[in-house]
C-alpha cells in the first residue's frame, strides 16, 4: 500500500515514476479519513491545497527534470506539528489562545521542506504550547496511542508520533524541548530524532523555552530521519542561535558499521522505578550492539538526579517570558476589559489551559524578585554541571545508550492529576536538552499484554547526528521492531 512507504521509498518511486505524488497524497488522505477518527492526530487538513501541491510536484517531475533532481523529497507528504508556522494555515499550538490565527509566513524548516520538494500537509495535534508528556493538554481532543486507544501517545509531539505509527504520513515534524519528539516516538513505536540545539532554525517555531526547543523528524526508521534532517538543517540568518555549520552528507548515506565504537551506559539511569520490561529491552539491545562489535562501557552522569528540577525551573522561566506575547491585543483571543491590564488578564485566563497556566505561574515565581537567585540562577549553574557531565562522558565514549522512557505508554488520566509525577516521566530525555546534545529514539521491543512499543535512546555529543543515526541504523539492520505496525 502507498501509505506504507518510507520517505526514501516514496521519494524513490516518485522519482522513477512508479507512483505519482498525487497518488501518494491521495493514499495518505484516504488513510487519514480511515483511521484518524480513532487516533485524533490531525487538527486541520486542506485537501484541495494538498492535491494542488502534489499536482505541481508531478508537473516538476515530468517537465523540469533538472529541477526535480535537486529536490530529494519531491512529492512526499509530511505532517506538521501545530507549533510550526505554515503560510496561509491555522497555527494554534493546540490552544484556544490563538483563536483563528492564520500564519502569514513559512517557518524556515517548512520553507526548506518545500525547497526539497516535500508537501507540508496537515496540522498535527500536540500538548498545548508543547507543554506536556501525554497529549492530554491539547485544548481540542487529545490524540491517542494507535497501539492501544486507551493509552496516551506521549507528548508533546503526540499527534506527530501517532500519525506516523498509524501510517497516515511517511514522516512528520515535531519539536523537542525536554523529550517531546523522543518520548512520543518511544510510546508509539516510531523513530524520533532531536537534533543538536542550534542545528535546525527555530524561525517560525512558536517558542516554549528558547534555549531548549529544537525541531526534528518522526519517521519509520533512521535513514528517513537522516534524509529529513538533511533537508531542514543548516544555518539561518533568521535565528541568531542557529549554528553556522554545514549540513552533513553522511546523514544521506548511513553507515551500519559500528565495530570498535564505544558506547556508554550511565550507571545513574539504572533506577529502582524502572519497569523490568524496560531494563530487559535495554540489556537485549546492548547485547545486539555488542555482538556487532561495539564496546559497551559504564559512564557516570553524576548530576542526573537534579535534571528534572533544573529543567522545570529554566523552561517555565523561559515560557513565562515567551508566552507574555499572548496579550489579546495583536493576535489571538481577546476578552475585553476597560484597561489594558484587565484585557490582558482576562484574555489569558480564558485562552490558556491549566498546564500552561501552571507553568507560566511557576516560571513567573522562579523569576520573581527574591527568588530569582535561589531558583533561576542556581538552576542555570546546575545546567552547567549537567552539561559538563556529558562533556566528560563523551571524552571517553562515542555515544550513550539508555531507555527513552522509564515505562511504556501509560493510561489516559493515569498521571494527569499529578503534575509532578507527569514531569518525572521525562527523566531520561531532558538531560540532552539541558546539555544541548543530539538524541534519537528507536523502537527496541514490546510489552506482552497489551502489546506496547518500547524505545531505545541513543545520545550523541553536540553536532554528531551522524553517530546517533549510524548506531540507530545499525540497530535497525539487526532488528525488525521498527517494521511492526498497530492494527487499527
Amino acid at each position: 500500500m502507498a501509505f506504507d512507504l518510507t520517505v526514501k521509498e516514496a521519494a524513490g518511486r516518485v522519482r522513477d515514476g512508479s507512483i505519482s505524488s498525487t497518488e501518494l497524497t491521495r493514499a495518505c488522505i484516504e488513510r487519514i479519513r480511515e483511521v484518524d477518527g480513532k487516533v485524533h492526530a490531525v487538527l486541520e487538513l486542506d485537501e484541495d491545497e494538498a492535491f494542488a501541491m502534489a499536482a505541481e510536484a508531478d508537473r516538476i517531475r515530468s517537465e523540469e527534470p533538472e529541477r526535480a533532481a535537486q529536490m530529494p523529497l519531491l512529492g512526499v507528504p509530511i505532517g506538521i506539528k501545530d507549533l510550526l508556522a505554515v503560510r496561509g494555515h491555522s497555527l494554534r499550538c493546540a490552544s484556544r489562545m490563538l483563536g483563528n490565527f492564520n500564519s502569514p509566513y513559512d517557518g524556515t524548516a517548512i520553507a526548506r521542506l518545500r525547497k526539497a520538494g516535500a508537501i507540508p500537509l496537515a496540522r498535527l495535534n500536540m500538548d498545548e504550547f508543547a507543554m506536556g508528556s501525554s497529549n492530554e493538554n491539547s485544548a481540542f481532543k487529545p490524540s491517542l496511542n494507535p497501539w492501544d486507544l486507551e493509552r496516551v501517545p506521549g507528548g508533546s509531539s503526540g499527534g506527530s508520533a501517532a500519525a506516523v505509527a498509524a501510517r497516515e504520513f511517511p514522516a512528520t515534524l515535531g519539536t523537542d524541548t525536554g523529550g517531546s519528539i523522543r518520548q512520543p516516538a518511544a510510546f508509539c513505536g516510531c523513530t524520533g530524532l532531536k537534533p543538536t540545539y542550534g542545528r535546525v532554525s527555530r524561525y517560525g517555531l512558536v517558542a516554549f523555552a528558547s534555549s531548549f526547543d529544537q525541531i526534528g523528524p518522526l519517521t519509520r526508521n533512521a535513514e528517513d530521519a537522516g534524509l529529513i534532517l538533511h533537508a531542514i538543517a543548516g544555518h539561518d540568518p533568521m535565528d541568531s542561535t542557529s549554528v553556522p555549520k554545514p549540513v552533513d552528507d553522511a546523514w544521506l548515506n548511513l553507515n551500519p558499521e559500528i565495530k570498535g565504537m564505544k558506547i556508554g551506559i550511565p550507571m545513574e539511569y539504572r533506577r529502582p522505578e524502572l519497569d523490568p520490561v524496560i531494563t530487559a529491552a535495554w540489556d537485549e539491545a546492548l547485547k545486539k550492539l555488542s555482538s556487532a562489535g561495539a564496546e559497551i562501557v559504564e559512564v557516570s552522569l553524576p548530576h542526573t538526579e537534579y535534571a528534572i528540577a533544573t529543567y522545570y525551573i529554566l523552561t517555565t522561566a523561559e515560557a513565562s517570558s515567551n508566552l507574555a506575547r499572548f496579550d489579546g491585543i495583536r493576535y489571538g483571543l481577546r476578552v475585553d476589559g476597560n484597561d489594558p491590564y484587565t484585557l490582558n488578564s482576562r484574555s489569558r485566563e480564558a485562552g490558556f489551559g491549566p498546564e500552561v497556566k501552571r507553568r507560566i505561574i511557576l516560571g513567573t515565581y522562579v523569576l520573581s524578585s527574591g527568588y530569582c537567585d535561589a531558583y533561576y540562577i542556581k538552576a542555570q549553574k546546575v545546567r552547567t554541571l549537567i552539561r559538563q557531565d556529558f562533556e566528560r562522558a563523551f571524552g571517553s565514549v562515542d555515544a550513550i545508550i539508555t531507555p527513552t522512557t522509564p515505562t511504556p505508554a501509560f493510561r489516559i488520566g493515569q498521571k494527569s492529576k499529578d503534575p509532578l509525577e507527569m514531569y518525572l516521566s521525562d527523566i531520561f530525555t531532558i538531560s540532552s536538552n539541558l546539555a544541548g546534545n543530539c538524541g534519537i529514539s528507536v523502537p527496541c521491543g514490546f510489552t506482552d499484554n497489551p502489546r506496547l512499543p518500547l524505545g531505545l535512546q541513543v545520545i550523541g555529543p553536540a553536532f554528531r547526528e551522524d553517530t546517533v543515526l549510524n548506531i540507530a541504523h545499525a540497530y535497525q539492520q539487526m532488528t525488525d521492531w521498527h517494521l511492526q505496525f498497530p492494527e487499527l
Binding site: 541568531s240 542561535t241 483571543l333 475585553d336 542555570q380
Partner: protein, 95 residues
Amino acid sequence: MAGTDLNIEYIAQLARIELTQDEKDELGQQLKAVIDYMDQLGRVDVTGVEPTSHPFPMDNVTRADEPGVSLTNEEALRNAPSSSNGLFIVPRIVE
C-alpha cells in the same frame, strides 16, 4: 527557599492571568509540591560554577544592515482582534 511562601495572588498578577478562586487553590497546592521538589537543588554545590543560558552561547550575532522584505501593514494586522486605520485598537490608557 520553600514552596510554602508562594503568594499565588501576587504571582498571577505579575503573570497577567485573572485566576478564579478554584484555580488559585488548586494551583497553589500543586505548585507547592513542585517547588518543594525543586528545592533539592539547594543540595548542589555550585561554588565557582558559571551559569549556562544557552548550550552554545553565540554573542553579538548580527546581520548586514540592509533593507529586506517584511510583512505589509495589512498582513501584520490580519490576525488582530481589533484594528482600525492600520493600527491595533486597545482600551484607553490615559484619560
